[in-house]
């Protein structure tokens, strides 16, 4: 029983990180039809900015360090995403190949720059003692970092749903996902919604970058890229443009990976996720909760 609980919470923790990256990716694709391969770069830059802030505050209390790092990571992710949209992606709307090339280029350049500045080896992160400890749950010792990731992702999900369903900008984003031209034809500046969505997506990716650092105990220039691949799978399974779809798919993918990697063999879980992706694409191409086009 305790093993099942442990695997379930670990899988949910991993799914939480996937969701935080996938949420922005899904909204950006849904509204703007931009396949943002640079989304992992927001994650990476944010995690290194947070790590640097934490290092600069080495003499402060561990909790203060962690909260400042969290804030710096989120702001960095949001700013980097906003700048990327304004400078690189905005001139390339409607030019899909150009978008792919520029976002892939930005992702590769960012990882290379981070490696150049910080080295390619993982670096340990400092965190409050409570984060490194475990809490008992149904007989299992659950790492507190998993609990933090799950709670943070749940809060982000609730905030995003509130934003989408209860605010005017959320209404614009939901409508824009369906028909961007008609939103403009109602007198609404969709461009501002684009920038806002990029900022939200980058902030969520930044949060994921900081939480992943505490989840794994290290930061690593390549982690953003591997996280991006998983997030793309989550977005496609959940349904492009659907936040609740991304949340559901992230939970499924995280649990599938953990349980099969443990009970079958290492790597089987990752393979099963790819099979699941293929099945969803064949049976329900719009994704679990995506609107069929």
């Amino acid at each position: 029983m305790s093993t099942i609980v442990l695997l379930a919470v670990t899988g949910l923790g991993l799914g939480a990180l996937y969701f935080l990256v996938a949420a922005g990716l899904s909204l950006i694709w849904g509204l703007m039809r931009v396949l943002n391969f640079a989304h992992g770069a927001f994650f990476t830059v944010a995690s290194y900015a947070a790590w640097s802030a934490s290092q600069a505050l080495a003499s402060a209390s561990p909790w203060l360090q962690w909260f400042v790092a969290l804030l710096v990571g989120m702001v960095t992710g949001g700013l980097f995403a906003t700048l990327s949209e304004a400078v690189l992606i905005r001139p390339l709307y409607q030019r899909h190949i150009g978008q792919v090339l520029v976002t892939v280029g930005l992702a590769l350049a960012t990882v290379a720059l981070v490696e150049g500045g910080f080295g390619s080896d993982p670096r340990p992160v400092s965190m409050p003692a409570w984060m490194s400890a475990t809490s008992p749950l149904f007989g299992a010792a659950i790492a507190n970092t998993r609990i933090v990731a799950i709670v943070a992702a749940a809060l982000v999900l609730l905030l995003l749903l509130f934003f989408l369903r209860r605010t005017r900008y959320g209404l614009i984003v939901r409508a824009g996902v369906e028909n961007r031209a008609m939103v403009s034809a109602l007198g609404i500046d969709v461009q501002r919604a684009f920038t806002l969505v990029f900022a939200i997506g980058g902030t969520a990716a930044g949060l994921a970058g900081v939480l992943a650092a505490t989840y794994y105990g290290t930061i690593d220039p390549a982690r953003g890229t591997s996280m991006l691949i998983s997030a793309f799978i989550v977005v496609v399974i959940g349904g492009l443009g659907s936040i609740t779809g991304s949340a559901l798919a992230a939970v499924i993918v995280g649990l599938l990976q953990q349980f099969l990697n443990f009970y079958a063999a290492t790597g089987v879980g990752d393979f099963a996720v790819v099979i699941l992706l293929a099945v969803v694409l064949l049976v329900r191409p719009a994704g679990l909760l995506g609107a069929s086009s």
Binding site: I172, V177, E178, M182, S184, A185, D189, V190
Partner: protein, 241 residues
Amino acid sequence: MNARAPLLELHDLRVTIGESQILQGVSFTVREGGITGLLGRNGVGKTTTLRGILGLVPRTGSVTLAQAELTALATYEIVRRGVGYVPEDRDVFAGLSVEENLRLAERPGAAHRYDLVYELFPELRERAAQRAGTLSGGQQQMVSLARALLNADNRILLIDEPTKGLAPLIVKRVADALRRAAEVATILLVEQNLAVAHRLVKDVIVLDQGRVVFSGDVEELIGDPVLARRYLGLAAAREVH
């Protein structure tokens, strides 16, 4: 002699999509008040003209609203100058409720004519919470018309085939709504149903092969079977004669 002031003026509007030149220099004037019909056979560029006015397709030439040039503006800026749009396919936001579709159309700073909208289409109030994608075609057209009617500062409404694919009873209601809408805004109406157009419009502009081939009184067009047959088609000519 028409004494009404010019409101919307197009001069040499050209639209090329891919290899096809859809509009080949369209020029006309819509005068303030009432309903002006934009007629012509299928595929002559009527919808593209409306989309060109709004900047939804790349175009050259000049479009002015109350003598203010619109062509350098983005679509949303053109709309904010007081242009309402009802697209050919209604384009309601299927995943949003009726109430959300209307709320989205509310322009900040403008008065909102919910009283008029609900007077014309009371079922929109009753179905406020229903997803627009689950409405019938007629009800979706009501949502689309309501969005354009909502903002009191709209000076002109561009309405594209509002009766297309609707049951006769709904066609009559839509026609009545258009007549009522014309009391509060000028309307440029694309309409394939010539009987409806005949009842609603006085001034007509006829397009053929991307050019204006007739501009004048509807009776002059309809009254001339040769003109009607040449520019509107045999079936349309029979429809009104």
